[in-house]
């Protein structure tokens, strides 16, 4: 049996009040992909930060190629041949592609100065070898998210690292781009690199990983070979119990049309969007990243201004010029980027919940705290929020609980239409199930829901009907009864077209 390229043993790390990792161990083998699996908050990100020199472990040892090492800085991790591709694209928008690839380890001239010519040439050949047609001279901000990921990957390859950490690399990628990524991972394996692959998606873990390690609550709870282990077994390790109903979709009574969108267009983002939404219905929006789904939703929510089209809610035409207008019209939006757009970190939970409803909780513009607490309690308890008090800063909550605060905030406004944009992205299985159950409950009460999701099982599991978008237009609208997932994927990718 081959020796591990990297071994972690007995690693512990605590933050004030939180034990992030306790006595965990991990081995990475050359030429193999090791999947790191765990719910959010299990300690995966902390581990990545320790491996890349951002955090220092309180206890434990790190061995690279049989040599005990310490990684005091990101630079030191570099030096040991460890590199990471992060969940989000952590790169530099204002710099060129070539510089993004080589920042910090650029080729030098004889005088120790940066050699721009060689840098460009090397970046170009690297990108070419990856099959990515990206001009090394353009600024990164000119690229779409998927291409940015490829640049991130090129950066990782340029470092010539032995150990590559991929932290949810497919989270923002489309199906086609994910396939391309798998090819690259194969190449890396053939090169003898050790890969740590972090993912929430079991299908991809089974597709590319050789080994797995499972974390739960900061501890290592299991490891083994993928080929020898069944999916349920891993899920049980992750959650400490078995999850039966991931998609508890119950059929609600479908009623009259609530929302009608006709010919909604925008100069650059989308065109000619028309659909209807009925009472008690969950309408899925599926498509590749960048297909324009979020932009359509934000237009309905008054954030982006459409250039043409009509929106009617319960027969009344609305033209939201701001989120405030949309809320008044009964349309609310749970954004994908929770931290930036969803919650106001720094304000306590109850103030987050009452923010859009202040007009109702106050008397003539004067705050009434008791009313706010009452409102917040009603909705957060209904969503089973886990918090020590309503005056707690919302920033101290986990991702899943923050999402509950956002949903509570909207329920408190008595909406007609709830738009959920990637509602379960980056939250743990437990909270995910709670969000799904709650969606079912909402439509049961006669609300209607639009759910934007890139997760095929989620879209298929939750929606009554599915709108597929491609390149800013609607490529098809499907009834979910007996729908073949292949149809959806092919429509989204433009392989198949359907007259809706």
């Amino acid at each position: 049996m081959t020796q591990p390229l990297l071994t972690l043993s007995g690693i512990s790390k605590s933050f004030p009040g939180v034990r992030a990792l306790h006595d965990v161990s991990l081995e990475l083998y050359p030429g193999q992909v090791t999947a790191l699996i765990g719910e959010n908050g299990a300690g995966k990100s902390t581990l990545v930060k320790i491996l890349t020199g951002i955090y220092q472990p309180d206890e434990g040892s790190i061995t690279v190629k049989g040599e005990a090492v310490s990684l005091p800085t990101a630079h030191a991790a570099f030096g040991r041949g460890i590199t990471a591709i992060h969940q989000e694209t952590v790169l530099f928008d204002e710099l060129t592609v070539a510089e993004n690839v080589f920042l910090g380890h650029a080729p030098r001239t004889r005088f120790g100065l940066i050699d721009w010519g060689r840098m460009r040439a090397e970046a170009a050949s690297l990108l070419q070898s990856m099959g990515a047609g990206i001009d090394p001279d353009v600024k990164l901000k000119e690229l779409g998210i998927a291409k940015k990921h490829l640049v991130g990957l090129a950066r990782a390859l340029s470092i010539d690292a032995d150990i590559v950490i991929m932290d949810e690399p497919t989270a923002a990628l489309s199906q086609k781009e994910i396939e391309d990524l798998y090819v690259l991972v194969e190449l890396l394996k053939q090169d003898g690199k050790a890969i740590l692959f972090i993912s929430h998606k079991f299908d991809e873990i089974y597709r590319i990983a050789d080994r797995f390690t499972v974390f739960r609550d900061g501890e290592m709870v299991g490891k083994g070979m993928i080929a020898e282990t069944a999916q349920d077994a891993i899920v049980r390790m992750m959650v400490g119990r078995s999850v039966d109903h991931i998609y508890p979709k119950t059929q609600a009574q479908i009623g009259e049309t609530v929302l009608t969108v006709e010919g909604l267009s925008h100069p650059t983002e989308f065109a000619d969007i028309s659909f209807e939404l009925k009472r008690g219905e969950i309408l899925g929006f599926y498509g590749l990243v960048g297909a324009g789904r979020t932009e359509v939703m934000q237009a309905l929510f008054g954030i982006t201004r459409p250039s043409a089209g009509r929106i009617t809610v319960e027969g009344r035409e609305v033209a939201p010029k701001s989120a405030a207008d949309a809320i008044e019209a009964g349309i609310v939006y749970v954004p994908e980027e929770r931290g930036r757009q969803g919650v106001v970190i720094g304000l306590p939970i109850f103030q987050n919940v009452s923010l859009p409803s202040l007009r109702r909780t106050s008397g003539n513009g004067v705050l009434r705290l008791a009313e706010e607490f009452r409102l917040a309690r009603t909705y957060t308890e209904r969503l089973d929020l886990r918090a020590s008090s309503l005056s707690q800063d919302v920033g101290t909550l986990s991702g899943g609980n923050q999402q509950k605060v956002v949903i509570a905030k909207w329920l408190a406004t008595n909406p007609r239409v709830i738009i959920l944009d990637e509602p379960t992205k980056g939250i743990d299985i437990g909270s995910k199930a709670a969000v799904h159950a709650f969606m079912s409950e909402l439509v049961g009460q006669g609300l209607c829901v639009i759910m934007v999701s890139s997760e095929l099982p989620e879209v298929m599991g939750m929606s009554d009907r599915i709108v597929v978008m491609r390149e800013g237009r609607i490529a098809g609208i499907f009834d979910n009864k007996g729908l073949d997932p292949v149809t959806l994927v092919e429509t989204a990718a433009g392989i198949r077209s359907q007259a809706a």
Partner: protein, 334 residues
């Protein structure tokens, strides 16, 4: 866990901290202690300090600046800044002076001063919220522009001849040694306290300062509120211009030179986060008092003004740095 309807819900308390306890360990408490210490030190240092007229004169050292600081605090809490406030005073004062030459009576002068302030504030607000420009550079620009216009109008001249009843606004006493300026400042502080801490508008300012994008996504009309805050800051600068002009009885383009930095120092010293999202009116009022006490106290000892400014600068950095250093020291000991 997945069942959200039938099981009894977990109860979440409103608060955990005892409000009294959190009030005791607040920034404002620190400021009160600093203020009392300086007051006591002043009383010991100078036999002339504990005298009703001295204490009354002391208030003139800060009231006009503090009136602007009230509005500036709201603006900074919302995540913006206005460096042009002193220049607004210059322009407002200049136009009031111009109006005097045309024989405009006192009510008209006050209206002009406040109106010019409001217009300047609206101009800043338009540039920042309408054209989406960063407020720090916009107001560096308008700072030159407003004062520059004042220079262009006045040149080497000065305006004087303000009516006698006008000067009461800057020099008059409402009762005993209590000046009009002080009364106005206290009234304005109460109004601002109420608006910031007790109204929806104030709550929205905090939300914007913590996360403007999320606030916008929660239905807060961010641009409109920021615009109002710029107007408010301009308005208060206009009022400060009225009081200062009335107190001086003359207008020159160099009036209120350098006040913007003093006003911002006051706000930051008052515990308002320069990054936005946190702060209180009580803190700003206490900081204004402290700055008045320090400058007047050192003045009584005939300490040169420039040494006072070192003291203020040091105070600004140290009151912010000391709690951080203390926290670091405590963490290291653990």
């Amino acid at each position: 866990m997945t069942d959200t309807t039938n099981t009894p819900h977990r109860h979440i308390p409103d608060r955990l901290d005892n409000p009294v306890k959190s009030a005791v360990f607040s920034w404002e408490t620190l400021l009160v202690l600093v203020g009392v210490a300086i007051f006591t030190a002043n009383a010991f240092a100078s036999p002339y300090f504990l005298n009703e007229w001295s204490l009354s004169d002391l208030t003139f050292n800060f009231t006009e600046k503090a009136v602007i600081a009230l509005a500036m605090a709201l603006l900074i809490i919302s995540g913006e800044i206005d460096l042009s406030v002193a220049a607004i005073i210059a322009l407002a004062s200049t136009l009031m002076g111009m109006a005097v030459q045309w024989g405009v009576p006192t009510p008209g002068l006050v209206a002009i001063g406040i109106g010019v302030g409001l217009a300047c504030g609206a101009f800043n607000g338009f540039l920042v919220t309408g054209l989406k420009l960063p407020s720090i550079v916009v107001t560096i620009g308008t700072m030159s522009l407003f004062r520059g216009l004042s220079y262009a109008i006045l040149g080497d001249q000065a305006y004087g001849g303000y009516p006698a009843d006008f000067s009461w606004l800057g020099q008059g006493y409402v009762w005993w040694v209590i000046s009009f300026e002080l009364v106005f400042f206290i009234a304005a502080a109460i109004v601002f306290w109420f608006v910031l801490h007790r109204t929806n508008f104030g709550r929205r300012i905090f939300a914007i300062g913590n996360n403007a994008l999320a606030a916008q996504f929660s239905g807060v009309r961010v641009a409109r509120i920021k615009f109002v805050l710029f107007c408010l800051t301009g308005l208060m600068s206009g009022i400060a211009a009225v009081m200062l002009t009335a107190r001086l009885g003359s207008t020159r383009p160099s009036i209120a030179q350098g006040w913007e930095l003093e006003v911002i120092t006051m706000v930051v010293l008052g515990g308002v986060s320069i990054l936005g999202g946190a702060g209180s009116i009580l803190g700003v009022v206490l900081a204004a008092l402290i700055m008045g006490l320090v400058t007047f106290g050192l003045g009584l000892l005939n300490v040169p003004g420039i040494v006072m400014s070192i003291f203020i600068g040091g105070l600004l950095i140290s009151v912010i740095a000391l709690p951080i250093l203390y926290r670091m020291w405590k963490e290291r000991r653990q």
